[in-house]
């Protein structure tokens, strides 16, 4: 009989057994080590092969050379990795990244938004041999080297076991609440801290003119509105001074031709605009029309005045 415990946080006391009726008083937050014991060694025709591995933010380079910097940019603490062997030499790799916070788990999930949404964890996507979701402070990835319906089914079952073990949900970044909801493309919101990641999603400049770093929260969102399309960037700084400096440098280097209200017509005939409210910098990177840019900034500033 295989026991899978439902992880709970702090004061919760509960465990469940898959395949039988079993109750036990236990309390623990999901840790990477506990995944090794809790997760099934066999999922349909896929069987655990090799030893589980745990990597930290330095040894991760030995494991995922090429992508490690993305995870480190979200404060990756450690990564649990398990390989499953399946029919005809196929393999499925489970990677569970423990991030600095639930917000960062959400953020790393938004790094690649290509795929079909799934009901798994707090948000999940599937694309061509890759399942991934986030829940609490964990980003979970299941990659398959051979695509098949049974492999998909197995990955899905494994994902459900991981999500069940994590148990609790985590909060999304507060900065998302500043986005006006009308026209917001919820499946295209990205959250990050790093200027390299901004340039990956929307190339802005070769210098970090917005002073993005691990202490700034930034979010990029797309709009499809009755007045046109738009791309909006919000940045929340740890203090007003840094926000003010970023505002000034953005105007200097990116919108030197802005009018007194911070609006400028770009070379591609779209409108860009910037506004500042306390620690929050709001930038309409491009909008099809000036009224749309005006509406977006007005809505964001109104929210900023209400949200602490």
């Amino acid at each position: 009989m295989k026991w899978v415990f439902l992880a709970q946080i702090s004061t919760a006391f509960l465990a469940i057994c898959v395949g039988g009726i079993f109750m036990v008083s236990i309390t623990f937050a999901a840790t990477l080590e506990s995944f090794g014991e809790a997760l099934p060694e066999k999922v349909m025709d896929w069987t655990k092969s090799g030893e589980d591995q745990i990597y930290d933010d330095r040894t991760i380079f030995d494991y995922i050379d090429g992508a490690a910097e993305v995870y480190r940019a979200y404060g990756m603490k450690r990564c649990f990795s398990r390989r499953y062997s399946g029919p005809e030499g196929s393999a499925m790799i489970l990677d569970i990244f423990e991030m600095a916070s639930p917000q960062d788990a959400f953020g790393v999930f938004t790094h690649d938004l290509d795929g079909d949404p799934l009901d798994l964890g707090q948000d999940a996507l599937y694309r061509a041999g890759w399942y991934r979701f986030w829940k609490d402070r964990f980003f979970v990835s299941m990659t398959m080297d051979q695509e098949s319906k049974t492999a998909d089914h197995a990955a899905r079952k494994l994902g459900e076991a991981v999500a069940s073990f994590i148990g609790v949900d985590g909060p999304r970044p507060v900065i998302l609440s500043y986005f006006p909801s009308e026209g917001l493309q919820r499946g295209r919101i990205r959250f990050f801290h790093d200027s390299n990641l901004l340039n990956t999603h929307y190339y802005l400049s070769d210098e970090n003119i917005l002073y993005l770093n691990s202490r700034t929260d930034a979010s990029l969102a797309s709009y499809e509105h009755s007045q046109g399309s738009a791309e909006v960037l919000l940045v929340r700084y740890p203090d007003r001074g840094k926000a003010s400096l970023a505002y000034k440098d953005f105007l200097t280097h990116y919108l030197p031709d802005a009018d007194a209200k911070g609006f400028a017509l770009l070379e591609n005939k779209k409108w860009s605009a910037v506004s500042l409210s306390g620690e929050l910098l709001a930038i309409v990177l491009e909008a099809d029309t000036k009224p749309l840019a005006e509406w977006l900034l007005k809505e964001i500033m109104e929210k900023a005045s209400k949200i602490p």
């Binding site: 992508a67 990677d95 061509a128 990835s141 929307y202 210098e207 280097h253």
Partner: protein, 299 residues
Amino acid sequence: MADAKRVLTRRDFLRTGTCAAVGGLIGIPLLKPTVSRAVEQSRVVLVRNKDVLRSGANIRAEVLENMLDQAMCSLLDVPDAFSGWRRLFKPDDVVGVKSNVWYHLPTPGELEVAIEKRLVAAGVKGENISVDDRGVLRNDTFRNATALINTRPMRTHHWSGLGTLLKNYIMFTPRPSKYHGNACESLGALWQLPHVVGRTRLNILVMLTPHFHGVGPHSFSARYVWPYSGLIVSTDPVAADATGARIIQAKRNLFFGKESPISPPPHHIAVAGSRYGLGHSLPDRIELIKLGWKENLLI
């Protein structure tokens, strides 16, 4: 940030009517000081043979060796490959072959063996040849190298856009993260390190099964490799990488049915030319010689 400093922004690309990705890829319009090389054009040889791969990614070593020899003859205008290797390497050279061990798509062992055989044939002593990747800083041959050969497969890369020949030298620094800023734009600086500068005699970009789109933490999916069956050979790493990048870009556009810029833009290629003077990235500065199989050439 000093106001006086000229910052390159998206608007510079908009002004010239090209997108950031394309601008970063082909080297326009980089507004940094340009270091021009003495030669007008860099020669790049693209050689393909559809028989080099058996089913899957298994390599026919004899076909691969023949491709390498063909490339060498065309690259150096010599009647036989042996003459070419002897022109580039002397018997008293100590040669480090910088390979790549990334387990999804490593430098093929067959190619490493072929290179070693040709170096020995050119008179280089076997004990003065070493193939290495992650251990180059601890490898005595590399420490004492008078010459380097740089070889790796091309693939998409989360942080630099593409895993390139230029990026393959990241192992020559104990602090790789120092070169990660702005999509690794300063990778060319690696080539100026004292133990690297001026030593690279040959660059071989492996395009047998290039990887054109990254998926997941491992940045790899077998779905996004294809049997291009090629090698790109040049003494100019920038020109070789720029040529490979164009092929990857064309494959992405074809596969996804729309313009699908490599992301992040691999502008470290153009920057390596314009800022570090390592070669040419613009097509009109590259003399591209195409040999062998022409089907689905993509360039």
